[in-house]
Symmetry: C2
Subunit: 337 residues, 2 copies
Amino acid sequence: MSSNQITIKDIARILGISASTVSRALKNHPDISEATKKAVNELAKKLNYEPNAVALSLKHSRSNTIGVIIPEIVHYFFSSVISGIEDVAYDAGFTVIICQSNERYDREVANVKALLSHRVDGVLVAISKETHQYDHIFAIQDRNVPMVFFDRVIPEIETDHVIIDDQKASYEATKHLIDGGRKRIAHFAGPKNLSIGIERRVGYEQALKDANLPVIPELIIEADSFEKAIKATNKLLDMENPPDGIFAVNDLTAIGAMQTLQKRGIKIPKQIAVVGFSDGRFSGITDPTLTSVDQHGYEMGSVATKMLLRRLLNPNYDAPAQSHVLDANLIVRGSSI
Amino acid sequence: MSSNQITIKDIARILGISASTVSRALKNHPDISEATKKAVNELAKKLNYEPNAVALSLKHSRSNTIGVIIPEIVHYFFSSVISGIEDVAYDAGFTVIICQSNERYDREVANVKALLSHRVDGVLVAISKETHQYDHIFAIQDRNVPMVFFDRVIPEIETDHVIIDDQKASYEATKHLIDGGRKRIAHFAGPKNLSIGIERRVGYEQALKDANLPVIPELIIEADSFEKAIKATNKLLDMENPPDGIFAVNDLTAIGAMQTLQKRGIKIPKQIAVVGFSDGRFSGITDPTLTSVDQHGYEMGSVATKMLLRRLLNPNYDAPAQSHVLDANLIVRGSSI
């Protein structure tokens, strides 16, 4: 970046407000007051802040590449997202280059720097769990490089995004168990500091409430690893009144539950039904096969890329940032019916 | 690439020999005759073919990025390789950008084009199964961009590479079953047209021969998918004299075997022991846990990147192409002892 170019951060510093407020004010976001918008736009004009100028100068030197920043390639979900991205991108004549942040802030910053210096035409980002500062993301906006977030969203940053309705999916998964006659459904919950953990738990509790079933705190156990799931299942089975169903926050914990149940002679699904989340590589090869939520990674990648291309190929398209929420649906298999 | 620069392909066309011969002659490969080397070098000199010149001109504009071309990110093995690459590269101050060929020749060509036009400082490649033409790879050599192959090797191209000794690993896996007292060991084999399929089968047969056990054709069944493994296991169990051990070409087929054995009331490992290949996401979460070959993906990525950096950081380092063969070792778990 040229050092004498005005950035969102400069405007923020001068006005004593946050960069995210400047970003949103420039994009005419409804949450920002008219007074702030006026101040931001006046200063931006005075300082010749013109992200479009950079974009226009690059218009004729398109690199025909789309950059993707992904937290962890090893997850089946993210590798499905990449497939969806690539199929849409290659069809449109773009090559996809991928950077992995490995859930690390420092690598994510290096990734953005590399992609921008390689002049990618657009960026697709799933932010790392460790990222709480966004200067590198504002740098993308300063350059006016089209950007779409997927799976993970930062409310402070105004950009197109595609997410999954985790809460609704959990609601459906729990309701499926209730519809099958289960009345004491346990939940293996994710960590409380992650939104997916919270959303999935909320969906589970709501489904119980809507069916007039009690939410029983002892039946909700934080367990997001294979080992923790084994321990949690043993704990549930040692109760005076064990559950008749388990809704697990992911497939790995659901498999841990199934193995423990089988070791202790419990019939699945007859005595206890099991449902997982994030239909991955495992669900088809367990015995019985595992009912699980399909997160539609391929579709997420495909939709995100279409949103990106819409802006990238039509520089005059200036609609406000859009949110696309995908429904995740339950794939019913042997572990629950 | 500038259109008036002389390439390996030009020299090949003029001399009526293959580009790979030119590539190897320029690198002083022992398989190429002195006469051919002389002809190639004389013409190269006459035409001012100087790959180093391009490299030198770029020396001061290092992008500090390493490009990786990988067939399929979804495989645990390849995602481990990427982790190994990234840890070494980031430690050395390089960012890694990844392209996925998806086992397609056309995408691999597009990947190379994108990486070269982004001026990556070095390239790590695992060639796609579909690739049988190598002009895009020669283009990397023409630019004198350091390149290391991993996992898959093209004999025609003279470059550093890291591979795994599949045959030796299969030998060890089979020997482990023999040492445990098994005398009728079946093998689920990979396709005959893939080198890993052949290598693994050869290792299996050699271990039997060295132990004076017969190679029984009926016990070798081509089965490289979960479904085929279920079918193959049923076939083995229906024999008059079923096997007492199964060595499967990969973990997925080993799991298919285990499930089928358990469904038919066979005790693992007491009655039939099972060994898989390519220690992945599955081996620790089956019941019993699965004995399998650890392919050391992380180490492969790490070694390949070190080989690349050695050339990249020392432009005067001109040792001939080197082959690094990694030992894969068996992780013994409950399915075999």
